[in-house]
């Protein structure tokens, strides 16, 4: 007979049970991962922007050694395909299967509005940067935040500065992307324009992803405007600017790109097309702030060219989110949301404050004038910043009346 007694067996069983019960406690003591989702367009109309957005977010996380509040950060990405249906599906999958609690993106305003609903339903933190005012306006809620300047701030900066430089250019023809972003910016360009006595001689809307602008430009030319104003983005803006030049409108009359990605669009246009081009943007790489200088330096060192608005937005949103976690001393969504409301710091584009009532990040907007070919000091020396403006949306326009509860 072996020397194992009933008492020994019971001891072993008891020990094993104790170990089993204790194991979950050991697991709980481990630092839990903070899962952050970059919901970017790798296919579809904004597929060219997805990879640079990814770069921006990675840079911000790398700066922190992929850690926040003592916990490791797990960065995951999903392709939103620049479609609302795909974006919401991917976001829900990432939340349910991967435990994502913090969503950055997506890039398209229309797509982001759909993802914002997912954030509200799933109670996850969502930071977005884009031209629709609805995220911090009519469809505001506690879980979504807006990093880009308000369309009003943008319109005010662009229209006021341009009219100061060109007081006689009062016949404006607008070319507007026909979706949430275009409508928001158009509304305020017209509103601010009234104050300057601007006559809007035409306003054509084109679908997202338009590649044939000749009909729109023919109409614009027929209206004999003093200035053509585009409220579109990415390849739409590049294609439109090229066509306006081909028709001989620019550089004879100025062209304004109201809400541009900056570098990513300007690099695709020949210097001749950029002559007499005026550009509004949420970021330009010569922005003179300590954070921007460091960001531009490390981005250029890593990728060989200066960052435009897209990587800057991804970088900026991620930094704001991490700053909110630091302020909250927590990575729980509810704590981070509360900490982000009213968060105020000197960051990428200067002084930034998150309005707790609307979740709009109050911040400067940039207006540039492109340089002539012979004034450029290098191939990437596209423009000079001629103004920054940070006039917030006046209270009478604010559509976010009650941001609700968590």
């Amino acid at each position: 007979m072996s020397g194992v007694t009933r008492r020994d067996v019971l001891k072993l069983g008891g020990g094993a049970a104790a170990a089993g019960l204790g194991f979950p406690a050991v697991l709980r003591a481990q630092p839990k991962e903070v899962v952050m989702l970059g919901l970017w367009s790798f296919t579809g109309a904004f597929s060219d922007v997805g990879p640079v957005l990814d770069r921006g977010m990675k840079l911000a996380l790398d700066e922190r050694g992929m850690k926040v509040q003592g916990k490791p950060i797990k960065y995951i990405t999903r392709d939103d395909e620049t479609k609302a249906g795909s974006a919401t599906r991917r976001a829900e999958e990432a939340v349910d299967s991967d435990g994502a609690k913090f969503i950055m993106g997506p890039w398209s305003s229309g797509v982001a509005l759909a993802v914002s609903e997912v954030a509200k339903r799933k109670k996850v933190f969502h930071y977005f940067s884009g031209g629709t005012e609805d995220i911090s306006g009519a469809r505001c809620h506690r879980y979504s935040f807006q990093w880009a300047a308000s369309p009003y701030t943008a319109a005010k900066t662009v229209v006021d500065t341009f009219m100061q430089a060109n007081p006689k250019a009062k016949r404006w023809h607008l070319l507007v992307a026909d979706y949430a972003f275009g409508w928001s910016v158009e509304k305020y360009v017209k509103e601010v324009g009234k104050g300057h006595g601007i006559e809007f001689v035409g306003a054509d809307r084109h679908p997202l992803g338009e590649r044939e602008f000749s009909n729109y430009v023919t109409k614009a030319a027929g209206n004999k405007p003093d200035v053509v104003v585009m409220i579109n983005f990415g390849l739409d803006a590049v294609t439109g600017a090229r066509e306006i030049f081909n028709f001989g409108l620019t550089p004879k009359i100025p062209l304004i790109m109201t809400w541009s990605s900056g570098v990513e669009e300007l690099v695709q246009l020949a210097p001749e097309i950029r002559e007499n081009l005026w550009v509004g943007s949420n970021f330009y790489y010569t922005a003179d702030t300590p954070v921007a200088r460091e960001f531009v330096k490390s981005y250029q060192a890593k990728f060989g060219n200066p960052p435009g608005y897209a990587p800057a937005a991804a970088y900026g949103m991620t930094r704001m989110t991490l700053a909110a976690m630091d302020k909250a001393k927590s990575t729980e969504v509810a704590d981070v949301v509360k900490a982000c409301e009213g968060l105020e710091l000197d960051d990428l584009v200067g002084r930034m404050r998150v309005d707790p009532k609307t979740h709009q990040t109050l911040r400067p907007y940039f207006f540039m004038r492109c340089k002539k070919k012979d004034a450029m000091k290098g191939p990437m020396d596209f423009a000079d910043i001629i103004a920054t403006g940070s006039t917030p949306l006046p209270a009478e326009y604010a559509a976010c009346k009650d941001i609700g509860s968590l």
Partner: protein, 270 residues
Amino acid sequence: MLYALMGIGLSIITGVLNIPNFAHGALFALGAYFLFTLIQLLGNFWLALLLAPLGVGLLGALIEYAGIRPLYKAGHDYQLLLTFGLSLIVTEGIIVVWSPVGMSQLPPPLLRGGVDLGITFYPKYRLFVMAAAALLVLGAWLFLEKTRYGAIMRAGIEDKEMVSLLGIDIHRLFTAAFALGCVLAGVAGALTAPIRGLNPWMGVDMLGIAFVVVALAGLGNLLGSIVAGLLLGVAQSLVALVWPEASVAVIFAVMAAVLLARPQGLFGIR
């Protein structure tokens, strides 16, 4: 007219070689990129416009000789896979050599700006492209209809075995047909560059349209390709005036309508 140029090129290749050339769009893009680089090197738009399509044609001859020819006996699926693979290789090659970032190519100084046509204002370069493409279509038509080699090519489309039995080197005919189709894709790409700019995926849309032209025309029908190309261009422009969102969809709507009424295409007999 650019649609007609693409359609004729694809129609020749499809007709003579009996291969749906999925690389046709990528070769269109390559024509634009060759033009861009040649202008940088030579500083002359016109010389670049002449040489860029020839470069694409030479590459086409090489593709036929080294890639497609060994697969003639292997069957249709392999040729199809080859041209599809080539389209990916050419597109990725463009990204490696020229970068994925889009670029602009200006028209020559003589053709910059617009002219007032009385009823409308129109860019000089677009007028030039219309005229140049019309001349090229006419040239291709005359070559195929009035020259001996054109007759051989048409005969090749109709009955390859018979052409071969008549003592004509059918392999040389295949190489020439593929190269000619590629030249036409290259010239369409080069002419398009100052209008649409350049990006590695610029051929994707054009490939779809070229296939629509071929289907609409009737397989291998060259006159049909011209008519179908013009028809699609006019339909797209008219729809864009009243309903811009539908300007791409109308291409496929026209194709569906024609094929429902005439499954063999406008001019097809098979």
